[in-house]
Symmetry: C2
Subunit: 333 residues, 2 copies
């Protein structure tokens, strides 16, 4: 049995872009496994833009990570020792394990065991919270109809790429916005998008006018900022704007001003709505079943960007904010 646990704790609240020194790498003894508890060895950690928000000392949909606490993260792990009747040594499980080699948690807080026949990392990505965010955000809030124009930002990211493909499966005309020609080429050549806009090298507003001449019916927003403003300037009547995230400003010390074109929501009777995937837990089964079917048939493709080694956890988080990743950002321990 292991005795010591390597782990990253929160050392300082990031001011702007997180730095490696905002986290402290250390070791702590692994306590004995109490009744009802399970000790797991973490295999993969999920990296998600929303983790940046957990570092801020303000009320949100989850309490902030406290200074000195292990950095919160979802992961997949293998059960090492179980004193809970639902789990046995060797089971693969998903849960909120954090940036550490081992996690000791009540069995009641563990997710279901991973299904056989599916790569375990998929349960963190396309068949996990990431894919489900795309699924419920696009279908429940965006509600794209055949022939409508759908725009997705952060389109080469784990959520955006799935969101766009789901809209495509509804018969929509789907335009992705991503950074750089490689990501854009992947969107149109592999990921079934009708068109892609490279926001780093193209005039987003001008390209949106070209690609959505009748206006934008649905916008799945992962980035906020200027791109949201450009979209708002070109919404169609009864447009639905799904606010999934706003990664462009997560590292701003003061939130930047919002979109100038917000008032277009009035003339166009538009709706802008935020959501948190945790509210959909009761419907996860439905979403996973549908996503599994689409992934199996090839209707949805997805990529994983796997980094290696717990010591690289802070650097892996930063990849999300520099746009280094295409697809789901993971760390293999």
């Amino acid at each position: 049995m292991p005795e010591m646990n390597r782990r990253w704790t929160l050392a300082a609240r990031p001011h702007g872009m997180p730095k490696e020194s905002d986290f402290a790498f250390g070791e702590a003894p692994i306590p004995p496994v109490g009744d009802g508890h399970v000790l797991v060895r973490v295999l993969f950690l999920s990296f998600d833009p929303t983790q940046r928000g957990w570092l801020e000392d303000r009320p949100s949909y989850l309490p902030p990570v406290q200074l000195g606490e292990v950095m919160r993260a979802v992961g997949v792990a293998e059960v090492v020792e179980s004193k809970h009747p639902g789990f046995a040594r060797g089971d693969l499980v998903q849960g909120m394990f954090g940036w550490q080699d081992y996690a000791l948690i009540p069995g009641a807080l563990l997710g279901a065991k991973l299904r056989a026949g599916v790569p375990p990392t998929w349960s963190l990505g396309v068949l996990g919270v990431t894919g489900l965010t795309a699924y419920f955000g696009m279908l429940d809030l965006g509600k794209p109809k055949a022939g409508e124009s759908v725009v997705v930002s952060g389109a080469a990211g784990a959520t955006g790429s799935v969101a766009g493909q789901i809209a495509k499966l509804q018969g929509a005309h789907v335009v992705g916005i991503a950074g750089g020609p490689a990501k854009c080429a992947w969107l149109t050549k592999e990921a079934h998008f009708d068109a892609a806009i490279d926001y780093k090298h193209e005039d987003v507003a001008a390209r949106l006018r070209e690609l959505c001449p009748k206006g934008i019916d649905v916008y799945f927003d992962n980035v906020g900022g200027e791109i949201l403003d450009a979209v708002l300037g070109q919404i169609a009547q009864r447009a639905r704007i799904v606010l999934c995230g706003s990664i462009s400003n997560y590292n701003e010390v003061t939130p930047p001003p919002g979109p100038r074109n917000l008032r277009n929501l009035v003339a166009q009777r538009g709706r802008m709505e935020g959501f948190i995937i945790l509210d959909y837990v009761a419907r996860f089964g439905e979403g996973v079943a549908k996503l599994s079917e689409w992934v199996r048939s090839g209707a949805i493709v997805h990529l994983e960007d796997v980094q290696h080694g717990l010591e690289n956890a802070p650097r892996t988080l930063l990849r999300l904010f520099t746009g280094a990743n295409t697809g789901k950002q993971l760390l293999e321990l």
Copy 2:
């Protein structure tokens, strides 16, 4: 029969705040009344913030008023001559008559005859499009529930004052935001609001924290700008923000930046939605019936600010933007 018609036409598109010289006062002969047409003498004109948008040369929910055209406005009028079977000399009617003494329009475009026993101006205000905007905006989009906190800006205006009282009738805790102590006193002493914030002399964000300690569930927005931002900073989970108008920026040459706190919509699963009352025409009967009942019983009070003389039309429009009016802004011809 009258031969000449005094009228205000659009002389120049306003750049920022409209000036009297953006309109031209002149006379034109009244053409003969053709088959199916009705000649009316305008009695009252309605002044509404949305008229500012009609002066901009950009696509919106109605086409822009063209240079040289009579300034568009809703009014009530008396039929002078009718060649339409539905109307007779002396009937009181409502319609889009414009800033002029007489209007010649197809009977098919006239609204219903005004009901007897109700002051004709009410059909422009509390029992007209203004009250209906409050009714459908608050009930269909805001959906306030008993015990919820509802905030209304432009609360001493014609729409805001009715919107707040409708929320109060649903059992909500209603806070109005208005400019100056007189308007605020009217809100709490006469118009059934639980509290009022004087945005000209008080710290809106601090007062909202005091008055809505559990967060804001519904916000009926007539003003946009900084007040919208302050509200977004304090929304409760599942908040509904009804975008009715944004008078604070109608006269800005370049739309100002939007709210910094927009991303709160994600963490709080908030919804922000714009609407145009013309989409509710099919349900106007329901709204007028309910509003009439509430006005009759005293559950809803309303004020009218009546100016006089067609020559004062541009000055009367400006009263909306300087906040001079309390309640419905009208001009009696």
